[in-house]
Amino acid sequence: MATDNGDPLIEVRGVSKYFDQTVGVTDRILRRDPQPVRAVENVSLTIDRGDIIGIAGESGCGKTTLGNMLVKLYPPTEGEIIFDGQRLSEMSRSDEREFRKRVQMIFQDPFESLNPRMTVLDSVAEPLKINDMGETYQQRRDRAIEVLNDVGLSPAEQFLDQYPGELSGGERQRVAIARALVVDPDFIVADEPVSMLDVSIRASVLNLMRDLQDEYDLTYLFVSHDLALIRYMTDETGIMYLGDIVEYGDTTQIVENPQHPYTEALFDAVPVVDPQHERRRANVAGEIPSPRNPPSGCKFHPRCPEVIPPDSWTGDQDAYRRFVMFQSGLEEREIGPGSLEGLEVDLESDEAVRMILERELALDVPQEHRLDDESPEAGVEVDRLSLPPEATETLRGAARDALQENYEAALDRFGEEYRSICASEHPGFRTAAGRQTACHLYDGQPDESLTTATSSADD
């Protein structure tokens, strides 16, 4: 997959998008630097002609922002997007007009993306008018009818004079698709195109999109949180987490054999329609951190079940995972006197330190991933964890500092000795099981070339 045998239509090179970069009043008063939301960070990928590429991830991962940049709704803060050999940032006015014809978008909500006061004909013919396509009204009308028939609204004549309010959700989304197709584009970004539709209607819209791909010779970027849809629709998929693409490659391979621990958790979490099947649950602790201040190194490392201990760590990996979690809890200021609120215990006592460690070293994950005698209510017995003695001392000291809300001192105790590579270095893409994974678990130098993958669909 590293070899470039495809015909790239879109190249995304080191693209980042930061929102909210201006200095607000609060920031000025407190003399703070603005902390922008890092919606997308240093993403690179290549989309070949005729591919269906999926972008999946949880809300806030940056998948929609990435799609919006590809249709030039807003420019990237850093990096470059190249469409058919041309940089988006260097387009002349006439280049841009051409680009707007060749690249279209299908939005999530057909109840909001169509003008309720325009008839189906007006909605579908409008892009032709804007783009100076079709000389006469009759020509534009004929083209609209042709496309409406193609999207399954046939006979189209019946729909021409209807308003969106008179159509069902599935019909509206077909109108939205017709509106995108009428200018005969090359590339379509579809952002959650069926998430507002009922299940029985969904399949027909998905099938339509697949059928139209051949007919109109389309390339798609399919953005969705629904992994089953991603599997059904796409040839290749990028999984995003906090603005990064963490894994990229052949969709079937990613689903059946995920390499990145986040990808694995994501697929573990999908419920199955089989009453006789016991599913493995996702082994992820905590919540998605703020994109204003993402964790260092691999952004997933504080939640990762497989975070890599440094060579100096003499305990086991499970204990190390808890150690890292405790440290990031301090960074987030989540561990402190508040953790023991309501308990009658002297905050300076050894008892308080013991309690805070028991509680904060326990994993908040489904039972199958916890130790036998561990529970979120009782915490975990620290003695049972395989922690090196010095690490235990570090934790005790840090807990004591945290109880005094002295977080800087607490964090200073951690030093470099037990710092994971996952926290110190951002993992670049490397090849694992035939695809690109941004995870230190896999050998090999990060792939510095910006091309991440190419099509395997028509091999």
Partner: protein
């Protein structure tokens, strides 16, 4: 004996111009003590309306047109752990009580219904799995629920119970003094469950408990629901459009379409042995992440207009197998097990696997045909 017995229930909405919308029509099913029953269907099928009607929480223009909701519990003999009656005695003389002690919830007046809510049947509304009040301590929210619904409870006792409840759902007792933002994602949902269980209800209704949640949080919610089923002996009624969520949480299911119950059965019967053409269509169109699917099959057409439904099977216009009598009358629920004889009787309430289809005796054959694309395409051509 069943905990809840819904008998020929019909619910309608008045609209400005035109006949009332028949959101739920002639629905029958039972919920047994301690079991989890799922109502599954697409938007507009009536599942949420049905859930709301059980607790008289319908919008102003909604009303129960006919039928009964028999409930075993609104009686003094339903005692709490100390043997004390849980409710002030509802004047049962005023209400229809059956010989077996079941009482019709649709007949209760406002103040009596208030006693049923939360104490007998608690509701976890849509979207609330992630929505605790941010400005009250979590424990205080539980205390408030207890003290409103059980006015005799002392503050101290209520606080103790709130802590007990949190402990039972796997949250440390002293976290009761935390605010919701101090809870992790999984803990928030467990706290919502503790809140629903505040008055030890015999049943909990959860409306779309996982909709709009991200997949990892959804996984936590499903885990929390499973623990709740193990820890408490309350029955559950789960309402959802997501058949995968249903398959993981429910003992028995009812599939709704166009205000009607189309099929009922255990989760295995519904998912391994689907016996109604609508259920077959729904499963065809549901993408799964487990296996490569060549082509999903959608159900052509759109759901019926419930303000003026035709005298026919609600699904007939979209059904590839509809014939003759399907266009005369909506079918009752037939027993699936009885095979070709099944259609001679309407299924009795004890019957587990039932299907509202006149052709249920040919279901094996229909099941095979339903997997072929041309079967469904022919509807577009004929109708």
């Amino acid at each position: 004996m069943s905990l809840l017995e819904i008998n020929d229930l019909s619910v309608r909405y008045r609209i400005q111009d035109g006949p009332d919308v028949r959101a739920v029509e002639d629905v029958n099913f039972t919920v047994e003590p301690g079991e989890t029953f799922g109502l599954v269907g697409e938007s507009g099928c009536g599942k949420t309306t049905l859930g709301k009607s059980l607790l008289a929480l319908l919008d102003d223009n909604g009303y129960v047109e006919s039928g009964e909701v028999w409930y075993d519990g609104v009686l003094p003999r339903w005692a709490d752990a100390n043997g004390e009656p849980k409710l002030e005695v509802i004047e049962s003389d005023n209400y229809p009580v059956r010989e077996d002690g079941m009482m019709d919830l649709t007949e209760l007046d406002v103040s009596d219904m208030r006693q049923v809510r939360w104490r007998e049947i608690a509701l976890i509304p849509q979207g609330s799995m992630n929505a605790l009040n941010p400005v009250y301590k979590v424990g205080d929210q539980i205390v408030e629920a207890i003290r409103i619904h059980e006015p005799g409870t002392s503050e101290k006792e209520a606080h103790n119970r709130a802590r007990d409840l949190l402990e039972r759902v796997g949250i440390e007792r002293d976290r009761a003094d935390d605010y919701a933002h101090e809870f992790s994602g999984g803990m928030k949902q467990r706290a919502v469950i503790a809140l629903a269980m505040a008055c030890d209800p015999a049943m909990v209704i959860a409306d779309e408990p996982t909709t709009a949640l991200d997949v990892i949080i959804q996984d936590r919610v499903l885990d929390a629901i499973k623990d709740m089923q193990d820890e408490f002996d309350a029955a559950m009624l789960i309402i959802s459009h997501d058949i995968s969520v249903m398959s993981e949480t429910c003992d028995r299911l009812g599939v709704m379409y166009g205000g009607r119950l189309m099929e009922t059965g255990t989760d295995e019967e519904i998912f391994l042995n689907p016996s109604n053409p609508y259920t077959l269509g729904l499963q065809n169109s549901f993408p799964t992440v487990q296996e490569e699917q060549d082509r999903l099959l959608s159900i052509p057409g759109t759901p019926p207009d419930l303000s003026q439904p035709a005298d026919q099977c609600r699904f007939a216009p979209r059904c590839p197998f509809a014939s003759g009598e399907c266009f005369n009358d909506h079918p009752p629920l037939f027993s699936v097990e009885e095979g070709e004889y099944g259609r001679q009787w309407e299924a009795d309430p004890e019957e587990s696997h039932t299907s509202a289809c006149y052709r249920v005796d040919e279901i094996e054959e229909l099941r095979n045909k339903a997997t072929q694309e041309q079967t469904w395409q022919q509807i577009t051509e004929t109708h």
